[in-house]
Chain length 229, copies 2
């Protein structure tokens, strides 16, 4: 997490800019140019989004320390959209931005390792290790417990990457499960917060933050205060 | 879920075959042919996996009702892997197989809608609706509560698709959170099981199953019995 903290300090700005492209938000001149090349297809839409992201990143790179592309908005354009996700990540990193892939990925064992390789690590093709989406951090869903988180930790350590685990999300229904209190008096979100503390404890950087961050929706400031204790 | 039940009845087999390709499992003649065409690259690996899946699907189509490709194993080969995922789904469906995309996707609101479009629905590019990965069902993670599930339901209804929500997973650490008991005496997994019941109740098909299935690991038969009550 040190790289993120340093970027925040250098730019004197703690803002992360979301890159959640909706086609209807993209100026028509960019859409037209992309359709002229690739047709009104998933490929055309994905190209329009890439050009839009280039513009956004150019405008943001001097001001914000980090960007957060949301996988769903790329995945909805299929593999063509995922190609745009990869190209967007590369472009942002070339411009000095820290990239948090908002994928909320979750699984266990070797399957979670495959997600870790995809988003933070490298994939072996015969004797060669190839970086794939290669973000600087990935958001993950912790419902599966430690088995879903442990496979990420060695890759985070080896390649100086981090994860952010969902703890208390910002949506109205987050209370249906997250706010419920277990028999020991702790809520589900506090329980997960403690697990994050455990998962991260071996990796505290020079600014006191570990490689395992917690996602806490800004709509719930009281819960954020509670978790900071 | 009726289409799945009918496929199980027709083939007299309730087995779902996982399509979780590891490169090292793929016969070397397939890998060599793919590398000859595309190099020892992500594209070469993704092509080898596609050819392997074709063979698997050809062998399985008469015997099993459904296949379950695991997204992570495709995502680790980048957009090239996602292209193989799409092609694998198309091929399996052409051969009459029901396809459960094992993505464990989760998010809220319009972001979850984007995942729903990607995996079960269609994405609008200007005036055209284009199917994307277009599985028959998708696995989802319910930690975000109803806000993460509701966006899927209209698409399931419109396009005759289903979802499977994680309830009690098979991994050793699933108990860290899922087995904990809330103040009302119900465990987290039973609480989520009840939510699944609610989410699905409007969509019960002719065999009594709704469009919202529950994932319960076969390693926990007692919990499965409890949830069936």
């Amino acid at each position: 997490m040190d790289r993120l903290i340093e970027a925040i300090r250098t730019k004197k700005n703690p803002t992360v800019a979301g890159l959640d492209p909706k086609l209807s938000y993209i100026p028509s001149f960019l859409r037209k140019a992309a359709y002229a090349k690739y047709g009104k297809t998933l490929e055309g839409a994905a190209e329009a989004i890439l050009q839009f992201n280039h513009g956004l990143i150019d405008a943001l790179a001097a001001i914000v320390p980090a960007v957060k592309p949301q996988c769903a908005y790329y995945e909805q354009f299929g593999w063509q959209g995922m190609r745009t996700l990869e190209a967007t990540i590369r472009y942002a990193q070339q411009k000095g931005l820290y990239v948090i892939i908002d994928g909320k990925r979750n699984d266990i064992g070797t399957t979670m390792e495959a997600y870790a390789k995809a988003h933070l690590g490298t994939t072996e093709v015969e004797e060669t290790q190839i970086p794939v989406f290669d973000g600087d951090a990935l958001t993950v869903n912790p419902y599966l417990g430690s088995d879903g988180i442990q496979p990420l930790l060695p890759i985070c350590k080896e390649r100086d990457k981090s994860i952010f685990a969902l703890v208390k999300t910002s949506n109205p229904s987050s209370g249906e499960l997250q706010d419920r209190t277990f028999a020991d008096g702790k809520t589900l979100y506090v329980t997960i917060g403690s697990l994050c503390e455990d998962w991260g404890k071996e990796s505290r950087g020079q600014y006191g933050y570990s490689r395992v961050g917690a996602v806490v929706g800004a709509t719930y400031p009281a819960q954020l205060g509670e978790l900071r204790k």
